[in-house]
């Protein structure tokens, strides 16, 4: 019976519900923009990780090495793009 019960998935689901709920708090409580954004960003990234590992089985095949390589690469490039854009259009904007 124990083998048949998808404990990991159920807990993953509960956890992602909790994350959603935490993010929702920003709406109900009157917090500063900085605190709100921090909560958003943190919960969003953890949420994405949960989805990938628990529900998209990123760790369960022999390809997981290339899957994670691609993933880290993607995160790295996304960060470069986002911060590069902010650098051009906000921090370094002089026009």
């Amino acid at each position: 019976m124990k083998e048949l019960f998808p404990a990991k998935q159920v807990w993953g689901f509960v956890f992602s519900l909790i994350l959603t709920f935490v993010a929702l708090l920003v709406y109900f409580f009157n917090m500063s923009k900085a605190t709100g954004m921090t909560i958003f960003i943190l919960t969003a990234f953890i949420q994405a990780a949960v989805q990938l590992v628990v529900f998209m089985h990123a760790r369960e095949t022999d390809d997981s090495k290339s899957i994670f390589m691609t993933l880290y690469c993607a995160i790295f490039l996304a960060l470069i793009t986002v911060f590069g854009t902010i650098l051009c259009m906000v921090w370094g904007w002089s026009y």
Binding site: S66, F76, L77, L87, C88, G92
Partner: protein
């Protein structure tokens, strides 16, 4: 009339009306021809429904040649308009439309599919596979590209062409300054084709990582396969940015959102930023496979192995990541602070280093080699000095302070044509000739091919080198005329002559194909160039299953070693071969995409909704379809192989 008036062209001219007639007549002729020769079934079962990577490659090739013609006509019209001062051949609106469509057609609908053609045809053969990882997805990629390109191409006879440049910068591309549907065509046509490209990237990444023949480790892969792998990675990371930017642009135009507006919190330059976040990696998506092709051609015709294999791979992998660090060099003049520009100036200059390494590797490969001056080799040899000039002017442009002088002048135009024509166009033309016998079973005529090469090269130099000078003297790009007193006249006339020579070269290329279809002998061997990698170990033309027995790889130049060092490629007996089934769904779904796109362009909502439902129905159909493919029996393989002379006949 109210409903139909939207399909009229806002700025008609006799040329456009005659093109309408010409298009109508051609379509009619094709339909009559197909019916008369009873070819409908052949077309449907052999080509429209095929999932065979070789046939898909050939369809990409034909589309690319068609688009080369269309883009080339645009180019000659532009050069004719600029040939003399104060010319009245085209008015400013037509000139704007022509340079916009020229850029999009050449980069997205000519260069990209040409590269895709060669990747599709060559990569599975080079790694000893029977097809790509997802053959059906591959068909969808092709048809989405095709329908996106066709949607974009009909713009000039239905509703009017985009006129905001191939970069389509906002706010010019917004509704206020571009009220016609032209820019809708841009947003939606490219979107549809781009989805196809993204799928190709995923498909080839998986194919190359998962389907290599036994023994072929990553560091034993042929260089073109390496370049296809790296290109796929860049596609996967770059194209989503374009997708998002195009969706935002479409929403601004169709649903009055404010992403790129100048007022109400919009940010017009954000488009330029996102466009180049995709756009710079895109130029590497074009050039890396071209580098890969030269790396196949040069060793073959120098009779030497590729010099510095490891450094070639390393510089490509470096470029793939690094090409995402430099995009700001396209808008140094936009308004960011000098320190920001300096950062991107330096990153840009650094990217010239790996490119330089590759140039030296090709030179060292030829060094002491026994060079044969065939058409593919001529293109490769012409590429090296001409591309280097383009790279050097690129580094000039990369100096942000100096770029204030060069930006948006003919100097810039000369730079990027100088890298794209000797880089990408030479590569695909050379490789097209090189792989022609593998594709069609006969060789292209060398003599006419050489004439075409010389016309193209001389025409290229005449057309683009004068632009460096007029650009420095201040001739701006995208301006439809200039006055006599600027003194730009004579140099522009030379450019026009060069453009004409390039047009003649295109005619010669088409003529070589025609001539060779009629006259070339059909009994070429499987390995007519005495080549080195696995794609030449199979027959000419390649049978459906590529390799009757999957080859065993144990060195970098397996085929060469099998020919001359006695390595055994094909061990064991024939076994039945599992192949994917053909399917009409990719074609049908892409046709629905076309209708959906067309409806969006003209805001015909009921049709768009029907189209969207149709697309989802096709996807649902695929989810529930049971399709296990089919087997080719051992008897059938034996029969085919006997016709070709067996697996090891080149020994």
């Amino acid at each position: 009339m109210g409903f139909f008036s939207r399909f009229l062209i806002p700025n008609p001219s006799p040329v456009i009306y005659s093109s309408m007639v010409a298009i109508g007549v051609t379509v009619l002729l094709i339909i009559v021809g197909l019916t008369h020769f009873k070819k409908w079934f052949f077309l449907w079962s052999g080509w429209l429904t095929t999932v065979d990577h070789k046939r898909i490659g050939i369809m990409y090739l034909i589309s690319a040649l068609l688009m080369l013609f269309r883009g080339g006509v645009d180019a000659v019209m532009m050069r004719a308009q600029l040939a003399v001062p104060d010319n009245k051949l085209l008015d400013s609106q037509h000139y704007n439309e022509i340079f916009s469509t020229h850029g999009v057609v050449m980069i997205l609908f000519m260069a990209m599919p040409y590269i895709m053609a060669l990747m599709n045809f060559v990569v599975p053969l080079q790694i000893g596979a029977r097809d790509v990882a997802f053959p059906r997805l591959n068909a969808i990629s092709f048809w989405l590209f095709f329908m996106g390109a066709m949607l974009f191409n009909i713009s000039f006879v239905i509703g009017g062409s985009p006129d905001a440049g191939w970069t389509s910068y906002f706010p010019l591309a917004g509704n206020e300054f571009s009220p016609h549907v032209g820019t809708n065509y841009y947003m939606i046509g490219i979107q549809i084709a781009g989805i196809g490209t993204l799928m190709t990237g995923i498909n080839f990444l998986t194919t190359i990582l998962k389907m290599r023949a036994p023994g072929m480790t990553l560091m034993k892969m042929p260089m073109f396969t390496w370049s296809a792998l790296v290109t796929s990675i860049i596609i996967i990371f770059a194209f989503p940015v374009l997708t998002v930017a195009l969706i935002m642009g479409t929403m601004d135009r169709l649903f009055a959102t404010k992403f790129f507006t100048m007022t109400e919190g919009g940010m017009d330059m954000l488009w330029a930023n996102l466009f180049w976040v995709w756009g710079h990696p895109e130029v590497y998506i074009l050039i890396l496979p071209a580098f890969g092709l030269f790396s196949e051609i040069i060793p073959t015709f120098s009779r030497r192995n590729l010099y510095g294999y490891r450094s070639m791979v390393a510089s490509m992998v470096f470029i793939s990541i690094y090409s995402f660090f430099v995009w700001t060099h396209h808008f140094f003049t936009m308004g960011q602070a000098a320190y920001v520009n300096s950062i991107f100036s330096i990153t840009t200059m650094v990217i010239a280093i790996p490119t330089g390494i590759k140039i030296f590797n090709w030179l060292f490969t030829m060094w002491k080699g026994r060079i044969r001056f065939t058409v593919p080799m001529l293109y490769s040899i012409g590429f090296i000095p001409l591309f280097t000039i383009g790279g050097v002017t690129g580094v000039m442009l990369a100096m942000s302070a100096a770029d204030y002088q060069y930006h948006n002048t003919m100097f810039l135009v000369a730079h990027f044509h100088n890298v794209i024509i000797p880089g990408v166009v030479f590569a695909v033309l050379g490789a097209g000739t090189y792989y022609w016998p593998k594709m069609f079973g006969f060789m292209l005529n060398e003599r006419i091919g050489k004439w075409a090469f010389w016309f193209l090269t001389i025409g290229f130099c005449l057309a683009f080198f004068p632009m460096y000078i007029t650009g420095l003297d201040g001739q701006a790009r995208r301006i439809y005329t200039y006055s006599e007193s600027t003194g730009f006249g004579p140099l522009n006339m030379i450019s026009f002559i060069g453009a004409t020579l390039m047009a003649i070269s295109f005619v010669l290329i088409v003529y070589t194909i025609y001539y060779s279809i009629r006259h070339a002998p059909r009994d070429v061997s499987d390995d007519p160039w005495d080549a080195r990698s696995l794609e030449w170990a199979t027959h000419n033309p390649v049978p459906e299953y590529n390799f009757a027995i999957i080859p065993q790889v144990n060195s970098r130049e397996t085929f060469w070693d099998a020919k001359y060092k006695g390595h055994e490629l094909f061990k064991g007996d024939y076994e039945k071969i599992h192949m994917p089934n053909n399917s009409g769904v990719p074609f049908i779904m892409s046709c629905i995409f076309f209708v959906f796109g067309f409806a969006l362009v003209f805001s015909i909502w009921f049709l768009a909704i029907i189209g969207l439902i149709g697309i989802f129905v096709c996807m649902a159909h695929r989810s529930f379809e049971i399709d296990h493919g089919h087997y080719i029996s051992v008897e059938e393989i034996k029969e085919t192989e006997a016709k070709f002379g067996g697996v090891n006949k080149w020994k």
